[in-house]
Symmetry: D2
Subunit: 160 residues, 4 copies
């Protein structure tokens, strides 16, 4: 499990209906690729993408802002507590090999910025128009490219 | 000193000449108001604004990314080490009552995002065009409004 | 996996031979119980306990001090980067439902202290004699009690 | 102010009367030496030592666990928020050149451990009996040695 590509999905806790559908579809595709999802572990885009992963039999890591292991959305397999509040946004990105940003407010903007700071490729679906974000047409394209990048970072074929 | 308004100045480590001049002028004005400067403590905009503060007899706090108290620009009065790397960007904002963004790259973008997340007013000089940033014409206007906001947050007249 | 009891194992990076044997045995027993290991992810006691977990087919989470996902001992299944240096000691404990301390130096002492601060039960094998640590005779006793406590914290029977 | 020696004082929030007296006296002596106090900024030993510093005209830095700049004891001159909860214990030590431990519970134990981890000299007054702590007879002796060590770390004579 250690060498599997990890794709971070970042996005807001109060998305519109379209963003939720994009997130759910993105989650399903991540799991079908065999990648691990890393996200913030809470509601909105985070919950929809985790649900997509769960429905496709995948694994999701939730990087939580507080110190409560049992307070996260119900689809998270591996909750991780950080107790650093919104600074955990940086850790969502840092624990991923590449990232997909969906919709989102200022939390997502901070995560996009950290993606650039830490040198992670960020693919966007209806999100902030920030230089460096690779805007995608649909979840298929986003997951395809994010997976290839993550695989490249991990350094070869994924291993169990 | 504890109740003095604190103005955070965020900006990049590789600014152009104009940004350096804006930063230096901003620092002088912050000190002349009697406010305390909070910044990231390193080079570029951070160094120029700290130098401006120093030249006007003010006080500057530098929130550093590493664990070395003695590695910061020479104009910082109170270096603070955090050892959390770029996550310290959040702490620059959190230790300020209001903020001024000057020029800047992705680090500055993360700080603007944290400003919005934490509910701090952010005033901008030739910086990222992000919704919520109040773009200013010059350092005088920026410091004037940032100082009023900081004073408002502190809750009244500044005290020694 | 989310509701499985998590047992943290804390211990030094330069243990003697006896401590390594205790750690390996402890890891095997944790995996045989079906609990998840949480540790610091590096060498010494951390590596020995992770190896024990791996040999018994279990799962281990490594909470790492830096930002490099691929720098940890080879038996870690789920590396998590924190980039907060030795402050990650607190996060090893916070991500566990109970903890076992084996041997160890000041890092382990800090983790024992955080166990008490955060209200986690800590069981000890040849470790610091600090009030609050429940000293055990052998790995069997330590894992048995740490597992019962973790199960109690999780709140019932473990679930997949 | 930047090159002044900094002495960290660590101790519990619920000390007995004797510890409060030791802390107050320690604070006075730190200020009289011209050193800066670094502490956790809250009650008990932290408040008593800050009060001692204030009464002798010195300066104190309070490293706070939360994100509220205005919630600290009334004698703190420079509150710093970290928002990392009890992990801030590490930062109290890291922002000091040497440390004095007075009385204290597990929080103080974690700070003593971090003192050893980070290579800071720790002087003790009626505190945990941990190897590496230099136990002192009285505040005079503790401040004298802590000041000399801090001066040595700073590297020469203190500067404004």
């Amino acid at each position: 499990m250690r060498k599997k590509p990890r794709i971070g999905v970042i996005g807001g806790s109060k998305p519109n209906k379209k963003a939720l559908e994009l997130a759910y579809k993105t989650g399903k595709l991540i799991a079908e690729k065999g990648a691990i999802l890393v996200c913030g572990g809470l509601g909105g885009v985070m919950e929809a993408v985790s649900r997509g992963v769960k429905d496709a039999g995948g694994i999701s890591i939730g990087i939580l802002p507080w110190d409560k292991l049992d307070v996260c959305n119900q689809y998270i397999d591996i909750p991780i507590v950080t107790n650093v509040g919104y600074m955990r946004n940086a850790l969502v990105v840092l624990n991923s090999h590449s990232a997909i940003a969906i919709d989102g407010s200022y939390g997502t903007l901070s995560e996009i910025a950290y993606g650039m700071i830490y040198g992670k490729k960020v693919f966007g679906l209806e999100t902030w128009d920030v230089p460096g974000v690779n805007h995608m047409q649909n979840p298929e394209e986003a997951v395809d490219l994010a997976y290839k990048e993550a695989l490249n970072v991990v350094g070869g074929k994924p291993q169990g």
